[in-house]
Symmetry: C2
Subunit: 452 residues, 2 copies
């Protein structure tokens, strides 16, 4: 199998994977599903299209929408529908429409493609898969969810062979309360500036902040943003700034609970980072952004937060449903790693066994072997022509199939199995033979950068 | 849980499911994946969009394509991309582009949405999921695949609680050879007429056929189309018509092999049906159409066939890759059955256990129970407020969660579990308790029409 980093896009921004890469994506998605379901989240799948008025309520992103028309529609008639650009907007619309048929608290996950007409670059695609999990309540949403969700993210990502992820947590109330205490009037634009800190750099941000709120406040805001800690020591650091307000206190308490509640996870898996703002307006409490070690510059590979009202994001604001959610950027993570040739599957097929075909007369025997192995949940295939065994073995090697099965291997009609990587061939009993468990299914392999 | 048939589309032709329905779709897709992978098919996922010239090579269907533009693109500039309307065209394009990186015979499956701007009706949607499996070779494609693929379809569909499916098989060579022997010149338009037989009815088809090829030939063609059998007796019925040609003989032989090779399946699961034509031009041998008992009028719910050259369907015809494939209409099958309220999941959540919350002080104990159950792969959730147990149990009942867990249930701090359907509550040991295996995950339930 080629170890060369593979070009992923014949159409810029629309990644596609080869078989040995698609297996990685599928296993990653399966792992996410498993964990979401173990935690009681139920699957939803929304249609890919939304009426344009639903998509446009979220303001800022309208420029990135793909609109849809039937090919023979009148050119002059305006498009009415577009592809969704995230999974939150369709979820909000879905809940608005189906509220009567749903039981709350609703814990749903959704793993689907979304589309944005942005300029493609590493980690940014026009078609990409997101894996969202949200809890939505009627009434109060307990703080425990703020603690549980990043814990779930960490459990999912820690078990997959990707670089370690750090989930950086903040709370909108910390920033809002801090701004209130400083009597900053336009807290939204100040927060937007802070959000751009990683892009603009410290100097430029400071300059813009000073223009907006004056040098003294700008200095304090930047000091706040520099605070981060893996434990709850950030609280004292904030207090040392000598700024306080009830909202700030509330935010610090909530943030402490999230950090303290995840201290039993891997060291470095979670930290408080008071610069995390999240660009969107609808977050009202806890916010998350996760970064992959060594790839921080590419941006958050998972994110989320708490919102006071899911449905305020849809066009019909009749209900009030507070919620909290996380989203894993499946394509972003894999696009970075597979695009650089750092991750692949151990083989390019699910087949664990290739049943070699002796001759056409005994094809029925070959099929019987395969049928029996499949009944024991061992993926396998029968070679489709009675070619020389050398050629059949070469095919298995090229796909990475670990075992080749020979029926009627001797005059007594015994079965033999060759383990291609070990190079040994043994007589076996069809009824009881089992593959090495580590070879039953393809596994995901981290490729050393030096190998690439 | 409501047993009322649920309206599935707030946007006509774009079905969406409630949680207890989405679980059905997911389990159906998982079953298809499982069987495809056991047979050595590897997953591919193509991007959702194709250049318009790729989509338009397949002629007939251009009117149904959704084209895509960025919302701020110039209105006058023509769209360059469209959403794919099936999974074969993107697969052909993918193989053309990546041929050097792929190993043949390539066995791939692809389970994805496709889009068609058609008028929606029962069983016909604008966005729908197809589950395709194809084998593509360099050189000759052995006939064994023609036998294996419908067998795989039958195994997949027989184990799912849907009405029995009959896969009707024909071979293009039978019809072509028959037409040749009758010296019918424009065999393509004759075949298209035959393909419309179920829609037009016998009389209308006969009339159109007579206009095209004359009364005598029309009579013979219609006689051919009436031939069907569950075993290979169709061969003699064809021979009785007194028409023969080498191509016809070859077709009868191949068709016999497919029918004979699947005689060990459920009686009625497969039959030869000499009226099956499949509308598309590219099939060259075996063709399949599967129908669900009682829903034959809605059309084929799975289909497929053999083609001489996959890549001829894409825009760059450099390679010659014969192939054979099948496609399961996931949304068509479930749209029919769930749209009529005939199928649902046993519950609306993956959670097998609800851990009841005693009080906030002991929330850590509740979470520890859940964490332990999850480590043993038992999906569960903790109720998020210390409400009265009655209320917590009501929540479990509404979602169909089968067990409610009580920690510190007595003064010794023992655990108790209530089985909500059985109504009994027992003291249990956290370390060893296991749910009834039939209750671990939601199951798919056939709803009696009389209940609906």
């Amino acid at each position: 199998m080629s170890k060369k980093p593979l070009s992923i896009a014949s159409l810029s921004g629309f990644p596609e994977w080869l078989p040995e890469q698609q297996i990685v994506e599928d296993q990653f998605i399966q792992r996410i599903r498993d964990y979401y379901e173990l935690a009681g989240f139920t699957a939803l799948r929304s249609r890919s299209v939304e009426p344009l008025d639903v998509l446009l309520t979220k303001g800022e992103t309208d420029k990135e929408i793909y609109v849809l028309k039937r090919i023979h529609d009148d050119d002059a008639s305006p498009a009415k529908f577009g592809l969704h650009f995230d999974l939150t907007v369709p979820f909000a619309r879905f809940v608005t429409e189906r509220e009567q048929a749903l039981v709350f608290p609703l814990k749903r996950y959704q793993i689907q493609s979304a589309w944005r007409g942005e300029r493609p670059q590493e980690g940014r695609y026009r078609e990409f898969i997101q894996a969202d999990a949200d809890v939505v309540c009627r009434g109060q949403l307990p703080l425990q969810y703020d603690i549980d969700l990043p814990g779930m993210l960490i459990d999912i990502l820690d078990g997959f062979p990707i670089p370690p992820v750090c989930v950086r947590v903040n709370n909108r109330k910390v920033m809002d309360g801090f701004f209130q205490a400083l009597e900053i009037e336009d807290s939204t634009s100040t927060m937007r500036l802070v959000d751009k800190l990683p892009k603009l750099g410290r100097e430029k941000t400071q300059q813009l902040l000073e223009e907006q709120i004056g040098a003294d406040k700008a200095r304090k805001v930047l000091k706040l943003c520099q605070i981060h800690s893996q434990d709850t020591s950030f609280v004292d650091q904030v207090k040392d700034l000598g700024v306080t307000s009830p909202v700030l206190e509330e935010g610090l308490e909530e943030l402490s609970a999230v950090i303290a509640g995840n201290q039993h996870k891997r060291s470095g898996a979670i930290c408080a980072d008071l610069s995390i703002a999240r660009g969107f307006d609808y977050y009202t409490g806890t916010v998350y952004e996760g970064f992959m070690e060594g790839f921080e510059h590419i941006g958050a590979i998972c994110s989320g937060g708490r919102y006071n009202d899911l449905v305020a994001q849809s066009s019909q604001g009749k209900l009030s449903l507070p919620g909290i959610g996380v989203s894993i950027g499946v394509t972003r993570i894999l696009g970075i790693l597979m695009g650089r040739g750092l991750l692949r599957a151990s083989r390019s097929t699910p087949s664990c066994v290739l049943v070699a075909l002796n001759d056409l007369e005994s094809q029925g025997d070959a099929i019987a072997v395969a049928t029996f192995l499949r009944s024991r949940r061992i993926p396998c295939e029968v070679f489709d022509e009675p070619k020389k065994f050398g050629e059949q073995i070469r095919y298995a090697n090229r796909k990475g199939i670990p075992y080749v099965w020979f029926y009627n291997a001797d005059e007594q009609g015994n079965h033999q199995v060759r383990n291609l990587s070990a190079g040994d061939q043994q007589q076996v009993d069809l009824a009881t033979w089992t593959p090495d468990p580590s070879l039953l299914h393809p596994t995901v392999v981290r490729v050393d950068a030096s190998e690439g």
